[in-house]
């Protein structure tokens, strides 16, 4: 009979091997229905060069990786307590330093300065437009979803619907849709911002008020259906939305006050600064919100709804509020995108979009504003990098495989995200050891 230690190690190695086989499969060449096994077999057998050193079939390479990772991991595990101890003692002073208010503020200032000079460093047109369309706007969206999923703990899979509402509202207000604009006036996209926010909020309340009473998983599926239905309407109501082709006549933002006349649209850089300004506003607003009475109510509901209700918090009210705020942010992001790309069509508003935003929030860390921004920057940069320089045999839809894998992997290995919020991390670990949380959270917050 084998000793249990050896059995665990063998199991661990086999699990790692299986994981690497999956990685091999999703990075391998595609197959087809005529030869359903070709993608799989070639994923393992195709010759590949090992950093230009020698050529070997893929499975040899991945087996080598597996062994290396396994060895490093078991070394780490055997030493881990001492390594963690050394790490803790050596970084105690620097960490205490970073906890200081002045240092934290100057770090943020430094990051802002980097963000401001970024377009001067990144001059490649592809990356400059990605910076706006794929990163800045997605940060706005992720910050909004973070209110819903991170702060209030509600899963919204139809987030794209509110984004679509914002984009279509912009098209409507500026007179780009078959539907006549309000009062027949073609307005500037700036005027679309309040209208889009109000419309998205109203949609959020209409959808949320009845469904937020329900259990979390019902909410997820209802919002998912809602997202699909908004796309369906956008696609089919030809006389209102322009149907499947949408519209490409949305004007750029313009600014006319007294002698100042400015029109956005010549290149992505002006839009970058506009978006950056809004990102900063969002960050400030949502951090204030997080630590306000409302934010604490969300935390209470997320942790224990019954207990929250018993101390006089109306869960439905605060959930609807979170939902509406998330919806408003998405609507706002919709205005940004519509005005910048001049273009809106139902093809953008698919379920995968909602999933993509969810990935940003989960990857960075639910409930952590810094985490969500980091998540958005990393995941979006990764996606744009792959699209920009695709590996052989890559198809754009393959990205969705990675998005799905990120969700599962994060939930298994690091549920609180890359840069967890302190509160959330404590909550998740406590739920895992089965402790009741409320009292200890309070104690922890004070320390």
């Amino acid at each position: 009979m084998r000793s249990p230690v050896a059995a665990t190690q063998i199991r661990r190695f086999l699990a790692l091997l299986a994981l690497m086989a999956v990685v091999e499969l999703i990075t391998g060449p595609p197959g087809s229905a005529e030869e359903p096994t070709i993608g799989i077999t070639r994923s393992f057998s195709e010759p590949t060069s090992f950093f230009g050193l020698f050529v070997t079939p893929r499975f040899v390479l991945f087996f080598a990786f597996t062994v290396i990772i396994y060895l490093v991991a078991s070394l780490w595990r055997s030493q881990s307590t001492s390594i963690v101890a050394i790490w803790n003692t050596t970084t105690a002073q620097p960490r205490a330093f970073t906890q200081r208010r002045a240092v934290r503020l100057s770090t943020r200032g430094g990051l802002l300065v980097i963000a401001i000079v970024l377009p001067l460093i990144v001059t490649d047109p592809f990356w400059q437009s990605s910076l706006v369309e794929q990163i800045a706007v997605y940060i706005l969206l992720a910050l909004g979803l973070n209110v819903v999923t991170g702060f209030a703990g509600l899963l919204d899979l139809g987030y794209v619907a509110f984004y679509a509402i914002g984009a279509y509202a912009t098209a409507w207000v500026t007179g780009a849709l078959p539907l006549a604009p309000p009062f027949g006036i073609h307005m500037d996209p700036f005027f679309a911002i309040p209208i889009a926010i109000v419309l998205a909020m109203v949609a959020g309340v209409i959808l949320g008020a009845p469904t937020l009473r329900l259990r979390g998983d019902y909410l997820a599926i209802v919002t998912l259906g809602f997202g699909e239905i908004i796309a369906l309407f956008a696609n089919n109501l030809n006389t209102i939305t322009g149907g499947a082709t949408g519209t490409n006549e949305i004007p750029h933002f313009t600014f006319h006050v007294g002698p100042v006349n400015y029109r956005w649209g010549l290149g992505p850089v002006p839009y970058y600064y506009l978006a950056l300004g809004f990102v900063v506003i969002f960050i400030v607003a949502f951090s204030l919100l997080e630590h306000s009475r409302v934010g604490r109510a969300w935390t209470a509901i997320r942790e224990d709804e019954v207990a929250a209700e018993s101390v006089g918090i109306n869960p439905l009210k605060y959930k609807v509020m979170a939902f509406a705020i998330g919806a408003a942010s998405a609507g706002f992001a919709g205005v940004m995108t519509a005005a910048q790309t001049n273009f809106v069509s139902p093809a953008t508003f698919t379920l995968v979009f909602s999933i993509n935003i969810l990935v940003l929030v989960i990857f960075g860390g639910m409930g952590s504003i810094a985490g969500v921004i980091l998540g958005a920057v990393l995941v979006q940069t990764f996606q744009m990098f792959i699209i920009h320089t695709p590996p052989a045999g890559f198809q754009p839809q393959d990205l969705y495989i990675y998005l799905g894998a990120i969700l599962v992997a994060m939930m298994i290995f690091r549920p609180a995200g890359l840069l967890p919020s302190r509160r959330r991390r404590r909550e998740l670990t406590m739920a895992e050891v089965g402790k009741s949380t409320a009292g200890e959270i309070l104690i922890g917050e004070q320390s």
């Binding site: 999923t149 019902y218 089919n236 198809q395 969705y400 799905g404």
Partner: protein, 320 residues
């Protein structure tokens, strides 16, 4: 007033002439929804959560039976004996593949979270990720276009009910589904396995104290649900073809059916599926074809608002 009357009478006129064909089609669709809804409802019973990745079990069943039948039949027309054999093979391959995927899913996306006693939100996210991962991987490996399944039998009209032709396909679906659902009902109601499932659904902790192996029961539940989901994938694929995104809409509707019948309730899922199929079919007379999927969604929201426990009430334990 007269305008509304005209609108209604015009639409009821359509319903009047198409009542029987719509009913026949609706029943056949409804049985497929029932088969998928079984998976949702049983997993909900033991884990108290919605298996978002169930749509991919359905898809996997469709692909497995497609590849097998394509290899065996190709474009030829099988004889009567061959038809029965190929139907059996299609069902088995679809069901077994669904089962396999369900077991892997439980193992990878759910069990690690269960071990940690993770919050419910984590399960949902993990399941959504798994669903996205699986169907896009299928798209990558098998191409992203619709494949029409090789037909195990000739789909001619057998007889008519009040002038509505009833095709072979409908008869096959109804016969197989009804037999399978009856079998499942008996399994849950009478066998030791079913007793274990019901016990875990009622109270997992007490069940484990009474000697029920919870892990094993959960896996078996996933297997049963997976078998039915994969089988439904085969039956659905026979008429609508197989494609990597095929799971999404039927699964959403089957979920609606499960909620309609009372989630966690096996008989409820059967009734809910049938009812949804028929209602949806009749709504074709009133709703523009492009918006037909909205009907199921509207029903879902309505049920959740008016009677969230569904027709028969939620509770797997009490179902039999």
């Amino acid at each position: 007033m007269s305008g509304i009357f005209q609108f209604l009478s015009a639409h009821f006129h359509i319903l009047h002439i198409t009542f029987w064909p719509l009913l026949v089609g609706g029943i056949a669709n409804g049985f497929i929804y029932s088969l998928i809804a079984i998976g949702y409802t049983m997993v909900y019973g033991v884990l108290r959560l919605i298996n978002f990745a169930h749509s991919e079990i359905f898809m996997a069943g469709g692909f497995a039976s497609y590849f097998l039948l394509h290899a065996l039949i190709g474009h030829s027309t099988p004889s009567t004996g061959g038809s029965i054999l190929f139907m059996a093979l299609g069902m088995l391959s679809g069901g077994l593949c669904g089962m396999l995927v369900a077991v892997i899913l439980e193992r990878v996306a759910y069990r690690p979270l269960r071990r940690r006693n993770a919050p419910k939100l984590a399960y949902l996210i993990s399941a959504i990720g798994a669903s996205y991962f699986m169907f896009n991987l299928a798209g990558k490996e098998f191409g992203r276009y619709n494949l029409s399944m090789a037909q195990p039998f000739v789909n001619h009209s057998l007889f008519t009910i009040f002038g509505a032709p009833v095709q072979m396909y409908y008869i096959v679906i109804v016969a197989i589904s009804a037999a399978m659902l009856f079998l499942l009902d008996r399994i849950v109601a009478t066998t030791k396995l079913g007793r274990g499932i019901r016990a875990v659904a009622q109270d997992a902790e007490t069940a484990s104290l009474m000697g029920v192996n919870i892990d094993q029961t959960i896996v078996v539940t996933f297997m049963l649900g997976g078998f039915f989901g994969g089988l439904a994938g085969f039956l659905f694929g026979m008429s609508s073809g197989v494609v990597y995104t095929m799971g999404f809409t039927p699964a959403l509707k089957a979920f609606t059916a499960a909620v309609l019948g009372g989630i966690g309730n096996v008989r409820g899922a059967m009734i809910g599926g049938l009812l949804l199929g028929i209602v949806e079919s009749f709504s074709i007379a009133f709703v523009n074809g492009a918006f037909i999927d909205v009907v199921a969604f509207a029903i879902l929201v309505l049920v959740l608002l008016v009677r969230p426990t569904g027709i028969l009430g939620e509770q797997l334990g009490r179902s039999a």
